[in-house]
């Protein structure tokens, strides 16, 4: 459902961030882009989000070229990016203001219950912890019922315990409607817990060096030897590219 066709991105200062990236995502897949900082993975995500345009190549969503942000594409950033002057419920409603009020209320209540924050519907962002704020951001993205969800290092700012529970939570929520997920992370375990496929990027300029299909059955246990073996495989792939 998502096709990246020979995507290239060059910035004004002649820095080539991405070079000939081609990727295909099927509906309902969870794909993670891993790579060291600065390898271009966030840039790639921003292109799919429609926040920037590729210098070469095209992004195709359901076969149609993307010309900007698309209603079927939801984005979760590294920071929660909540509007500080809006209460939690109003923040969640932010992207569905065009729907009738009753529908807005219904969806908001449902999605807040789904992320476990119903009791905080009228709280202000400054009253929330980091994990809670990120859950509100997830709720805000989910309430539009997107077919494709983009996540740019969504849990990198959280502590390890919260991170682990967020992974489980995300998979839980994903199981509801099975949107396609495209994630960016530098946390290899996170990539393994979540993904069907792990795409390894190496940077300067950003290119896909390997794609690994993770065949571990879900739910995945970090402590299992198979999981650790996969982790080593991916770390090796990253190292090899770093050395290259």
């Amino acid at each position: 459902m998502l096709q990246l066709d020979h995507i290239g991105k060059q910035f004004d200062n002649r820095v080539v961030a991405l070079d000939d990236i081609s990727l295909h995502l099927r509906a309902g897949e969870i794909v993670t882009l891993v790579g060291a900082s600065g390898c271009g993975k966030s840039t790639l995500l921003r292109l799919v989000a429609g926040l920037e345009a590729p210098s070469t190549g095209r992004v195709l969503l359901h076969g149609a070229p993307l010309t900007g942000p698309h209603p079927a594409v939801g984005v979760i950033f590294q920071e929660p990016r909540l509007m500080p002057w809006l209460a939690v419920a109003a923040n969640v409603r932010f992207g569905i203001a065009h729907l009738p009020a009753a529908e807005q209320a219904r969806r908001t209540a449902a999605v807040l219950a789904r992320v476990g924050l119903s009791a905080f519907a009228e709280a202000l962002p400054r009253q929330l912890s980091g994990g809670m704020a990120q859950r509100v951001a997830i709720a805000r993205a989910l309430v539009t019922q997107p077919a494709l969800l983009l996540l740019d290092e969504p849990f990198s700012a959280l502590d390890p315990f919260t991170k682990v529970s967020m992974h489980e939570h995300l998979l839980d929520i994903w199981a509801d409607a099975r949107p396609t997920l495209l994630l960016v992370t530098h946390d290899v375990e996170e990539a393994l817990v979540l993904s069907d496929r792990v795409v390894v990027l190496h940077g300067h300029p950003g290119r896909i060096s390997q794609t690994l299909r993770v065949d571990l059955p879900r739910p995945r246990r970090r402590t299992s030897p198979e999981f650790q073996a996969w982790k080593q495989r991916i770390l090796h792939a990253l190292e090899v590219e770093a050395a290259a």
Partner: protein
Amino acid sequence: MAATSLLSAPRLAPPATGTAAPSAARRWRWPLGALLPAALLALWEVLARAGALPPNLLPAPSRVLATIGELARTGELWPHLGLTLGRVALGFGLGTALGTLLGALTGYLPLLRRLLDPLLQGLRNIPSLAWVPLFILWMGIYETSKVVLIAVGVFFPVYLAVMSGIQNVDRKLVEVGRVYRLSGLQLVRRVFLPATLPAYFVGLRNGLGLGWMFVVAAEIMGANKGLGFLLVDGQMTGRPQTILASILLFAVLGRCTDALLAALGRRLLRWQDVHGTAGTS
């Protein structure tokens, strides 16, 4: 599953929404704030009564208050008060409206900013009183020139606050708006406007302060009514208690209007995540 239990049972009680009861510290704010002025007034009174202060230069507070009381009794006070307040209100309204409009345009549209801002910054650097003779020449010595002078004073802080406020809006928040495909106007209304509110209030309060300053200039330079007129009248007739009465009234009115604005600011800016008290400038 561990995850569900962690997330579905909030250990923290949801924060109480709505206005919280004023803390003990807030209840003491008024008395504490009045402590120093009251002490100084008392000292002044004592010194005046003891004859340590020349009565023809610095009369006792009691005499100043008596003068105000006298003006109130004869009904003279109210036209002066009303006129000065009215001029400030009109000038503030005009200056704020223009400052907001131009600040929004130059803040949001780079071309306009490059065209207009250098000119406006140049005008800003003209000392306030320098405008007076020009306005009197153009608009006479009656109400128009006074209101316009006040508006000029109010305009610049508001313009600057809006323009720089818009420039400083967090790009991350604007991107969220873009992701949800908000139109330009929707972005302004739903992201830029609320995001600029804290800076706007700083501008408004500064503008108001300048408005009060400019009304004194306007009224000194040619008025037969108003608190500024009382100032000049007190000087001409050699009555320092009238001068001080006018000064005291200016202080009170200025403080009250500023307090109202500050209170409004506190209410509208409660969401701020700041080191100090949310909504204070």
